[in-house]
């Protein structure tokens, strides 16, 4: 019976099914907000779902010279690892599989899609794929370090390396974002870099590289990639909510999910706002801002955090 309950948790709530549905919802919300910001109408609520189903039904074409097996494996691996990361992060008050040190595992799992994305560009014969792959790797090195630092800061501050532990440490409105604002800002920038959104949409810059590494993807594989991006957005936001915004505050036990949902929506609005407000950076400008601005800020935040812990 217990096994069955656990399985339901993994597969339905707060596991796979919830993650997919919620990620499609925030994809819609994001698209709608961006559209309104740009003066457009935006899609109806079922659009991401419709897109996904349509792509799943489409013919799968891959050009000559593609490594079929790897190119099919890559989106599956990225989706699986993103979902696995999602299982360690609290959704409302519930979490499927928390353990001490899962923050490290989550960060590791979340970096797999980026590497898969890079490989996706390399296994196709398209020059856009190769260049997009190169760019995504270069970008990975620029945002991942500040992102790791920004998530290590609350861990050091609260002396726990578990995401659930981080959430617990913030109960009573002692949210990390109040104590470590720079860390939160870095985490947001790092997340935007990870999700390859404006102004860091460099690996798939439409006007230069078409769709970058995904140029030669179609049909089901492309659907999986699109779903992975949605899932990554949701899981990344979940992580930030748990690590910086206090997750679900336990004082309002019955409203845990609602509180969590409000925070998620808040972050989606933030992401959409950034998307509307900036032009794409060049890859050199991105690397420069990563290493000259974000990394020093991350180090500063770490030093301050350690000092705060001592005091």
């Amino acid at each position: 019976m217990q096994t069955l309950a656990k399985l339901a948790q993994v597969l339905i709530l707060p596991g796979a099914l919830y993650l997919i549905v919620a990620s499609l919802f925030i994809t819609w919300l994001d698209r709608k907000l961006v559209a309104r910001g740009e003066g457009r109408v935006g899609p109806p609520w079922f659009q991401p779902m419709a897109d996904l189903l349509k792509l799943l039904a489409k013919e799968d074409i891959s050009p000559l010279g593609t490594d079929e097996k790897i190119s099919a494996l890559l989106p599956m691996v990225s989706m699986a690892s993103t979902m696995a990361a999602g299982l360690c992060i609290p959704v409302g008050n519930s979490v499927v599989y928390p353990f001490e040190g899962d923050l490290i595992v989550v960060l590791f799992l979340l970096s797999i899609p980026t590497l898969a994305y890079f490989l996706a560009g390399w296994v196709t014969p398209s020059v856009y794929g190769v260049m997009g792959g190169n760019r995504s790797l270069l970008q990975y090195f620029s945002y991942e370090v500040p992102l790791l630092m920004s998530l290590a800061a609350p861990a050091v501050y609260s002396q726990t390396w578990s995401v659930t532990g981080l959430m617990d440490a913030q109960q009573g409105y002692r949210w990390h974002v109040f104590f470590l604002p720079v860390g939160f800002a870095l985490a947001m920038v790092g997340l935007i870099g990870k999700l390859k959104r404006v102004p860091f949409d460099i690996p798939h810059a439409k006007s230069e590289l078409g769709a970058g590494p995904l140029t030669e993807y179609s049909g089901r594989k492309l659907a999986l990639w699109k779903l992975t991006v949605s899932l990554q957005t949701l899981v990344g936001i979940n992580l930030l909510v748990a690590a910086y915004l206090g997750g679900a505050d336990r004082i309002w036990a019955h409203w845990g999910f609602a509180i969590y949902a409000v925070k998620v929506v808040f972050l989606v609005v933030g992401l959409a706002f950034v998307q509307v407000s900036y032009a794409r950076l060049r890859i050199d400008q991105m690397a420069e801002s990563g290493w000259r601005v974000l990394v020093p800020l991350g180090i500063l935040q770490m030093v301050v955090t350690i000092w705060m812990g001592k005091a």
Binding site: R40, P199, S277, R280, L281, D284
Partner: protein, 360 residues
């Protein structure tokens, strides 16, 4: 690092019209670029020799989907010169009005295309949204958003009623406010600066040697504007400034165009105020006496030149069209080497290409 070849076109998200640009890059740096056009060559120069002068008005309107009005203006002026016709003042004013409205919407279209190329979708959407105001006005005046059929040999086909004049004034005032918003936005927005400043520098020597014209030339320090240097239609009696800048990068091309929109707005308002009465057109014979003439107009992208040769029949013996995009296309492959691949988008979009114009 090894060299890679990046094909841009004939179909590519950057290009709104087909052309083929082949880039050689080492890493992210462009080392050489070569270009091939002709994908939308329609043989208009041959086709026009088999049409009568009257039919050709509509043929030349279709050389370009954006600057259709200025093409017919240049063509009609050429034929009128051969016929020795003087068009009524009202017609001259209405031609100017349509040409300037066209310049406004063309420049805004360009701003949108540039913004999209550097990944700034918001400005793209805003620019194209406000462009609709002008397109609606042109539709109100002529019945067409893109092909207006406003010009005929000997004058114009459309009048401007007093209600339309009031509507124009009101809408253009709204539009002017929007343009102020754009100016402020582009002045302040740092991410736009980072992608356009010091990108795609074109020197005055390049402008001269390749014969680059229009706003692109004027943003590199050249001050030539056909409307000022050889005024046609009603331009001699209208006041406007020739905008120029000296930086020569994509950013200054944006600045020059935005300022030109303001000048065009002022010209439109002057036209509405001073619009003379009288007939819209004078009768023109079908047969054109033998002769030849060269006319030039300032299209939104710069000097547009028509050479018309008549052999005394109903059909032209030869018409040659040179659109302002052609010299710009020539210069582009010299602007690209040494740039980052990401800047190709900014330079190509910033060049304001009209490939259909160039191919004819």
């Amino acid at each position: 690092m090894s060299r890679i070849t990046i094909p841009i076109g004939p179909q590519h998200p950057l290009l709104k019209e087909p052309l083929s640009l082949v880039l050689e890059a080492i890493g992210e740096r462009i080392v050489s670029a070569s270009m091939r056009i002709g994908y939308v060559h329609r043989g208009i120069e041959l086709l026009c020799q088999r049409r009568t002068y009257v039919q050709n008005v509509h043929l030349f309107e279709r050389v370009c989907g954006i600057c259709s009005q200025v093409h017919t203006t240049a063509y009609c002026q050429a034929v009128e010169a051969l016929l020795g016709l003087e068009i009524p003042p009202r017609a001259a004013y209405i031609r100017v009005l349509m040409c300037e409205l066209e310049r406004i919407h063309s420049h805004l279209l360009w701003l949108g295309v540039l913004a999209e190329a550097i990944g700034f979708t918001t400005i793209f959407m805003y620019a194209w949204r406000d462009r609709e105001i002008v397109l609606d006005l042109m539709e109100e005046l002529s019945g067409g958003r893109v092909s207006h059929s406003a010009n005929i040999i000997g004058g114009v086909r459309i009048g401007v009623s007093s209600e339309q004049a009031r509507l124009l004034e009101g809408q253009l005032a709204t539009f002017a406010e929007q343009m102020e918003f754009f100016r402020e936005l582009l002045d302040r927005d740092r991410s736009f600066h980072r992608r356009t400043q010091n990108v795609g520098y074109m020197s005055l020597e390049m402008v001269h040697s390749y014969g680059v014209v229009g706003p692109a030339a004027r943003s590199s320090g050249c001050t030539v504007d056909v409307r000022r240097a050889a005024p046609y239609a009603a331009y001699p009696s209208l006041a406007f400034e020739v905008i120029s800048a000296s930086e020569g990068d994509v950013w200054s091309r944006a600045q020059v165009r935005l300022m030109e929109i303001m000048q065009s707005l002022s010209i439109c308002n002057q036209v509405i105020e001073a619009l003379p009465g009288g007939p819209l057109a004078v009768g023109a014979p079908r047969r054109v006496p033998p002769g030849e003439v060269v006319t030039r107009c300032e299209a939104p992208r710069g000097e547009l030149i028509y050479y018309v040769r008549s052999d005394g029949s109903e059909r032209p013996a030869r018409i040659k069209v040179r659109t302002p995009t052609l010299p710009m296309l020539m210069v582009i492959s010299h602007l690209l080497p040494g740039l980052e691949t990401a800047d190709v988008a900014a330079v190509m979009a910033g060049a304001d290409l009209c490939v259909a114009c160039a191919d004819r």
